[in-house]
Every structure is written in structure tokens, then in C-alpha cells.
């Protein structure tokens, strides 16, 4: 009797899982994100909801992100460490719903890295996985624009959902340590951003390299936090002077940022970037080699008509290959201003 019950329960469970999966697959990405947002909100009490919700046009909250730890630059919203296990799962499910599996993995690795930093720093309370904040600007909707923010030290995701569009700019990713080991596995949260850039540089011929490599030092991000909507004069090597293979490598490198958001939004973004590829520039400053298995110690920038990517190693901590900040922007559409205005 017990065996029968167990088999039946398993069968029902399997059918339920299949139904839920099929239902989820039938939903559009935006519908899934909205559903995850409402599920998260339903786990919160009145006070928590008041803390996590902001007006969509709250400019102060929009710009309240940084590479710095939360103890130094306050963030708005709810701190993950304050949430119950159920609320925390729902919060991460919401973040996950807006990202690709690869993007969510990257986010988890950045957070895990901060936990490693905390341990390396003698359990320093300034760092760690509990110190990430979630906030929602506007009302989760499948049609009207709203925003999901998630971030803390070395992480700032600003995701605007507007109908079926998902806009991930501006987004900051960083890592310290940029190389660590967890359960015997070596992790480099921003390793692809480093390796693929170096591969592209190595694929350039001498003339192209002379154009791409800037003859001056770039000490930090030019368009980091607080520099919204700025478009600087581009420099370096134009993609129109690259061959097909090099351009494919450039797109592959760009996808390390554009592919953080969920797949359909990433595909739309990549189409936009491809359309402006001829006017996209690749510039490099610093050493043109790297130790195997380590990140580059050079700065680079990719800039197109609606794209700015910066990769800036940081001197702090001693080893440039172990601490990096990156920035991903669309100066024409940061915070989804272009689509939200429609």
C-alpha cells in the first residue's frame, strides 16, 4: 500500500513538475519575471514592501549603486541578509528570472568572491554574501516599464523591463579576488572578459595593434558610477578595420556583458550592437600579455553608437590581475530611458 502511495505521489509530482515547466515555457520572459517579482513581493510584510518598492522615476534610487561596499555607499531596498530563507530564495529566483543561466552564474560567482574576501580579511563585516540589496522601481508589469535593481560590492544590476524588452544598462561587475578556489574548483568570475579580450588583441596584426593599443595609461574606469549618459570621443581600432573573424571575436567578447540578461533580451541587444558594429571601437592600455590562468592587467574599452564597455584592473590589493571593475553602458538608453519614454 505504501509502495503504491509513494509511486502515485511521485507520479503526481512528476506531472505537476511537467505542468509547471510547460506553463513556464509557455510564458514570455517578461511574464516569468513579473510572476517571480510578484511571488517575491508576496513573501514580504508591509514594512518590507515599503522598503523594497520605489517609484519608477526615483532618480536618486536609480543612481544609488557603486563598486564600493555597502558600508561605504549606502544602497536602497532590502538587504538579502535581512530576509528569511523563503524570502531570500524568492529574491534570488526573481534575479535569476531576469538573467540568463550564464549571467546568473556570474552574479553568484561575484557574490561568492565577496564571501571569500570576507574570510581572507579575517571575517571582515564589510564584505560577504549577505550584503547585497534588492529593490523594485515601479510596479512589476508585463506592459508598463519597471526596474529591478540588485547589487552590492562589485555588483550593480540595473534591469529595466519594458514590455518584452529587458535593458541591462548601466551594469557594473567586478571581482576581488578575481581568482579563487571553492571546494577544489578554481573560479574566475570575470575570466572570460579577460581571456577573450586578450585573444582578440592577439588576433590583430601589427598595424591594427598600433591603432588599438593606446600609448598612455588609463588608471580607472572613465564612465564608472555617477557618469550616466556621457559619450566620450572613441579611440582605438574601429571594427570596420577588422576582418570577419576578428569582428566575430569582438562580438563574442561583448556578449560577456550583453549575455548577462535573459536570452531573448540579450538577442535583441546583440542585434542592436551588430547593427552598429562598423562604428564600434576597441582600445587597449597596458600589458599585452597575461600569465596563464590569470586575468590581464590591462585596461580596455569597447565603444559603439549605443555601447560602452570598460574593463579596469585595480591596483588595490597589490596584484592587478586579482581585482577588476567593469562597466557596461548604453549612453543612449541607460535605465531604459529610451523605451520608457515611449
Amino acid at each position: 500500500m505504501r509502495t503504491w502511495w509513494t509511486r502515485t505521489a511521485r507520479g503526481v509530482g512528476a506531472v505537476a513538475v511537467m505542468w509547471v515547466s510547460a506553463n513556464a515555457m509557455a510564458q514570455t520572459p517578461t511574464a516569468r519575471i513579473v510572476s517571480a517579482a510578484n511571488a517575491f513581493l508576496s513573501t514580504l510584510d508591509q514594512k518590507q514592501r515599503a522598503s523594497v518598492l520605489f517609484a519608477f522615476d526615483d532618480e536618486q534610487q536609480r543612481a544609488l549603486w557603486s563598486n564600493l561596499p555597502v558600508a561605504m555607499v549606502r544602497r536602497g531596498g532590502l538587504r538579502v541578509g535581512e530576509l528569511s530563507p523563503t524570502q531570500r530564495s524568492a529574491a534570488l529566483a526573481l534575479v535569476s528570472s531576469a538573467l540568463s543561466p550564464r549571467g546568473f552564474e556570474k552574479v553568484q560567482q561575484i557574490i561568492e568572491g565577496d564571501e571569500v574576501l570576507k574570510t581572507n580579511e579575517g571575517n571582515n563585516p564589510m564584505f560577504g554574501k549577505d550584503l547585497y540589496y534588492i529593490s523594485i522601481l515601479g510596479t512589476p508589469s508585463a506592459t508598463a516599464a519597471w526596474m529591478l535593481q540588485f547589487g552590492g560590492h562589485h555588483l550593480a544590476l540595473n534591469i529595466t523591463i519594458a514590455g518584452e524588452q529587458g535593458i541591462l544598462t548601466p551594469t557594473l561587475t567586478g571581482a576581488q579576488p578575481a581568482l579563487y578556489t571553492v571546494k577544489g574548483k578554481t573560479v574566475r568570475p570575470l575570466g572570460q572578459e579577460s581571456d577573450r579580450a586578450l585573444a582578440l588583441l592577439s588576433a590583430l596584426d601589427e598595424t591594427q595593434r598600433r591603432q588599438a593599443v593606446l600609448p598612455y595609461r588609463v588608471a580607472d574606469l572613465v564612465l564608472g558610477p555617477g557618469q550616466d549618459g556621457q559619450t566620450i570621443q572613441p579611440e582605438g581600432l574601429k571594427a570596420s578595420a577588422m576582418n570577419d573573424q576578428q569582428r566575430a571575436m569582438l562580438l563574442d567578447l561583448i556578449s560577456q556583458w550583453s549575455g548577462i540578461v535573459h536570452e531573448s533580451a540579450a538577442a535583441a541587444r546583440m542585434a542592436e550592437i551588430k547593427a552598429g558594429l562598423g562604428e564600434t571601437w576597441f582600445a587597449w592600455s597596458g600589458p599585452t600579455t597575461a600569465m596563464p590562468g590569470r586575468n590581464i592587467t590591462a585596461y580596455y574599452r569597447i565603444q559603439g553608437p549605443n555601447l560602452v564597455i570598460e574593463y579596469a584592473p585595480q591596483r588595490l590589493g597589490g596584484d592587478l590581475s586579482l581585482h577588476v571593475h567593469t562597466m557596461y553602458r548604453d549612453p543612449t538608453n541607460d535605465y531604459g530611458r529610451k523605451v520608457a519614454a515611449r
Binding site: L68, M72, M126, L214, Y216, R217, D220, P234, E235
Partner: protein, 230 residues
């Protein structure tokens, strides 16, 4: 005694951890220049690293009371201005302080605060091709300089080249389209005739120029590397 020791340990710990997380031994000075037809505008963001903050603070907080007063902030901004120079087509241009803003001493001590200056300068009338040269010598022993130019908002202005020395303390920008001469102050019936006369004069000069040898304009200055930005 014990309390003092605990406090001292806490301070050392705070400095050590902050230093690990943030800009440490450099004074980041990031300038973003925008070019308009008759005006240059620059936003300068000064971010002292934790380790060099005492040096920077000593230059700001002259009465050493641990607070940056409005007068001290203004005086410091003017001092920074004196360490900057701007020339347009080789002629010095006077930089004016438009505004200054400073984070609290506590924020800057933690490597989290900056000083922001906005300055501008008039662009004298000139030809179609212009050359701007900006130099920053402020706290050069501890400085890490960044200097960039915004894509001009005015579609008539085009940047043709940018050059910097390795440290980015010297920056040169070539652009065209900013020096359109203003129209005649009192246009009247003679304007058309004057226009034709001007065109005839230009043609005459062009003929002379083609047949003679023009004096080449210096393209580079020592220490600057050429980069063309489209």
C-alpha cells in the same frame, strides 16, 4: 588605557580594510571636457586614495580643524585651477571656476568621497581648425590623471585628433567646426556684395597658396602620442 588601545586597534583595522577595498596610494584626477562653439567646459573629479588623503587634506583644511569650510573648499578649487592650463590655438585661455562640491572629510578619508569642480573658458574666434591643449600639474607626485572629451553636442563640431602623454597630464585635442565666424554685426544691402568680394578674395588666396609653399603646422609636441578619434 585599555579603552584607548581598543580604539587604536579599531582605527588601524578600519584603515587596513578600507585600504584593501579602495583607491589607495593615488590621487585620481579625472577630467571630462566638452567643446562648444564659443566655450570649453570641463568637469574635474578629484578622488584621493586612502593612503594619500592626509597629503590632500593638508592642502585643503588649512586651519587643520578636520572640517572643510566653504572658504577652504573655494580656496582649494582656485589652487587646483592655478595648476591647470588651457590654451586654444596656442593662446592661453582663462579657466573660470563655475562650481565646486566636496564630499565630507569622513567620506574622503574612507576612499569613498571626491571633490568635483566645474570650470569653463571662452573660446576666442578663430578659424575652422582648432587646437586645444589642457595640462594638469596638480599634485603630480601622487596623481593618476584621466582626461577625455565628450562627443560634441553640436553636430557642426568634429573632433579630428586626440593626443596625450603617458600619464595623461597633457592632452591635446584637434577639432573643426567650432570657429565659424559670426555673421556681420549689421547685415544690410551691402552684405551680398561683400560676400561676393570675399569669395573672390578667397579664390585669389587659394591660387597663391597652391602655387607657393605653405608653412607646415607642427603636428606633434614632445612627449605626446597621436591618436585619431573619429
Amino acid at each position: 588605557m585599555r579603552t584607548r588601545l581598543v580604539a587604536a586597534v579599531a582605527v588601524v583595522h578600519a584603515i587596513a580594510t578600507t585600504a584593501f577595498a579602495h583607491r589607495l596610494d593615488e590621487y585620481l584626477q579625472a577630467t571630462i571636457i566638452s567643446v562648444e562653439k564659443d566655450r570649453i567646459h570641463a568637469q574635474i573629479r578629484l578622488t584621493p586614495g586612502v593612503a594619500v588623503f592626509p597629503i590632500v587634506l593638508a592642502g585643503i583644511d588649512r586651519d587643520a580643524d578636520g572640517v572643510i569650510s566653504g572658504a577652504e573648499q573655494h580656496a582649494y578649487a582656485e589652487r587646483v585651477l592655478r595648476d591647470l592650463s588651457l590654451t586654444i590655438d596656442g593662446e592661453p585661455a582663462r579657466l573660470r571656476l563655475v562650481s565646486s562640491r566636496a564630499a565630507s572629510v569622513e567620506q574622503m578619508r574612507e576612499g569613498d568621497g571626491d571633490i568635483q569642480l566645474e570650470v569653463d573658458a571662452d573660446v576666442p574666434q578663430g578659424g575652422g581648425s582648432r587646437r586645444l591643449r589642457f595640462e594638469n600639474r596638480h599634485q603630480n607626485r601622487i596623481a593618476a590623471y584621466l582626461v577625455n572629451c565628450l562627443v560634441p553636442r553640436d553636430p557642426a563640431i568634429h573632433v579630428t585628433a586626440q593626443r596625450r602623454n603617458y600619464e595623461q597630464s597633457v592632452y591635446e585635442l584637434d577639432y573643426v567646426g567650432g570657429g565659424d565666424r559670426p555673421g556681420p554685426p549689421f547685415p544690410g544691402p551691402w552684405a551680398g556684395v561683400m560676400g561676393w568680394l570675399g569669395a573672390a578674395a578667397l579664390l585669389l588666396f587659394a591660387r597663391i597658396g597652391l602655387s607657393g609653399s605653405a608653412t607646415p603646422r607642427p603636428v606633434r609636441r614632445a612627449g605626446l602620442r597621436h591618436r585619431c578619434g573619429g
